[in-house]
Symmetry: C2
Subunit: 371 residues, 2 copies
């Protein structure tokens, strides 16, 4: 395949006339590139100005504009790609990013290191959805967290992730926590007779992320959790690019305003399903419909679709809906979302009258029917 | 001063009744902390749940709620502080962050390494506002950029920053660019007889940021430009914490959706003026009123106020409005915004009929009146 030397981005803009919509599109093509009056751009660099290649009316007030950008603005730099995509335009009202050139993205991004196929092999789970729970709350000691992890593991859960608020607090420092929990999970596996993977949270400053990632490898964790909007998306991409062995689970903390803006931000499926996948997330956690957050079922389905969409020539990501899923509803969601899904369940397992281990067994039993 | 062991955050929420507003506030206090049903939180950890300390009606539909959080949720970790501040709550509709406990923030954050006072000493400018321009467009060679930088410098501009889109493109790789521009700026200073500071853009992945920062130091740059929302705020904070010598200029690329959300996100003055200052920006670029973006003059004044507000017990930041400022309007803005401001001017200097050097001289002449 020839390398693409330009890429197109689709924005949704607000306007009541075609003339104004075209003006806005042209302004956008300048804002995201040369960022200076067109008459001050030297002639030999005019090609660096984005080019409006199509403009379509969506409804009375909304237009879709496709802008083509020169690849030389980016030169394979994925951080600078984000900047051309939505740097200054994020500051303008009424500009929403609704599509990204997948072919170009496939060219400059790594995607997940494992992806759905490889992760199924790692876990020895052929077909059924996977289960994941969150280790919490903040404030428990490493011993108390390990005790909970042991119960989840002996109950046979597929994956345990740290609560995304577990950082390096005195109550459970990173190293002590990971040591204790890994040990407990391995012990639990002896009871369940199956694999349970543990993903500690490595979110922190750039130096801390690297340090915790290396500790996670050394201490025998099975993956890592990161909140890419807190660390910067490029930080996650850097881990995915290093081709180190641990799969990456991405948490949406601090990212909401990119996807719940009425006229700005990103379409949620493009932000999570396309961008986070391209930037290396093997698992993409998002707030499920009917839970405590605001996504509709259609939005969730669209995210799932993009996580697995073969149009992006990179490994696929497991969509990982969280919130509002328990053992009474998981079958329903599995039927809707399909097998290539990880179901993130927290509260309902902790609330089960017979305790965590029994709750987990019940949950796994339901998922077994999908194998 | 005693160390604070808790901190309060003020959110604005949408509700038509006090009862519902209280329910929403309580849900928020759980969401941002233990993130599990209150009845499943062990008794000895109940204090880790945030506590609603006040709830005030703003208008028929809007309430202000103040939630107090235990410091043990954070333990001096500024990334985890961002998570408690606005992690999951960013995903909820109708939750806007409108105030942050400055005293606690002063305790866990570094603030700018230089600040307004020290930077004035560095530059030998006692009282007047400072000028800054952007080196652009993308696509110019290091030689061509250096030529422009020379003209700005010989015209006597105070500061030159890279366009925030200049990364490490083949047309002007980081090292070649910084080498050429530093040399040109030093040569220009011989003509103007005054200091011109050059801030190359170091935005990139975590590893690239560190590498480019070190190169900037070695190659004799006078500061660095970074887009913290592209790199992660913690990345900037890490540089500010390292106590290395270069002042940091922060660019708002990719940050717009945090501040232009009608019912979510942050108040712009809190996001830029408080948070970015606390996380180490000596200069905070924001889109000026009456330019190509959408902030009102009142919002800009509020950002300026927070950049310099002594309530935050950290060094102050220079507010750096950009967009819509030229030599015909700068006096007006200087009178409104006050002397402790850096005026970022791009297009109008490039458009001047007599060229960059003359344009710069005229601009500096106007600012001299404020000394």
């Amino acid at each position: 395949m020839n390398k693409k030397t330009s890429f197109s981005i689709t924005y949704q803009i607000q306007s009541t006339s075609e003339e104004e919509a075209l003006q806005l599109s042209t302004a956008l093509s300048i804002e995201q590139t040369v960022e200076m009056p067109a008459d001050t751009v030297p002639d030999h660099l005019k090609d660096n100005i984005g080019r409006v290649v199509s403009l379509t009316k969506t409804n009375e007030k909304v237009w879709k504009t496709v802008i083509q950008f020169s690849g030389s603005l980016v030169d394979d730099d994925s951080t600078q790609f984000l900047n051309v995509l939505f740097g200054n335009s994020s500051l303008q009202t009424g500009v929403k990013l609704v599509d990204i050139d997948r072919e170009y993205l496939s060219q400059i991004c790594n995607g997940p290191v494992h992806g759905i196929g490889q992760y199924r092999i790692n876990m020895g789970v052929k077909k059924r959805p996977l289960s994941c729970t969150a280790l919490k709350p903040i404030g428990l000691t490493p011993g108390e967290l390990a005790e909970r992890a042991y119960k989840f593991s002996s109950g046979g859960i597929d994956m345990i992730k740290d609560d995304h608020g577990l950082a390096n607090q005195n109550s459970a420092t990173f190293k002590a926590r990971v040591q204790s929990v890994v040990r407990a999970v391995r012990k639990g596996e002896q009871i369940s007779g199956k694999k349970t993977a543990y993903f500690p949270n490595i979110t922190g400053s750039a130096a801390e992320v690297i340090d915790r990632y290396m500790q996670a490898v050394e201490l025998g964790a099975d993956g890592v959790l990161i909140s890419p909007q807190l660390t910067g998306l490029s930080q996650m991409h850097q881990l995915a690019r290093s081709n180190m062995p641990l799969p990456i689970m991405a948490h949406p903390a601090f990212s909401g305003n990119y996807v719940n803006h009425p006229t700005g931000g990103f379409s949620p499926e493009i932000y999570y399903g396309v961008l986070w996948r391209a930037f290396g997330a093997d698992f993409i956690i998002y707030p499920n419909a009917k839970g405590r957050f605001s996504f509709t079922e259609d939005t969730c389905k669209a995210i799932n679709h993009e996580c697995r969409n073969p149009k992006l020539k990179l490994r696929s990501s497991f969509p990982t809906p969280g919130g509002g899923i328990d053992r009474t509803t998981v079958s329903e969601w599995a039927d809707i979302y399909g097998n290539d899904t990880v179901f993130l369940i927290g509260g309902s397992l902790y609330q089960h009258p017979d305790g965590i281990e029994s709750a987990t067994k019940e949950f796994q039993q339901i998922l077994k029917d999908y194998e």
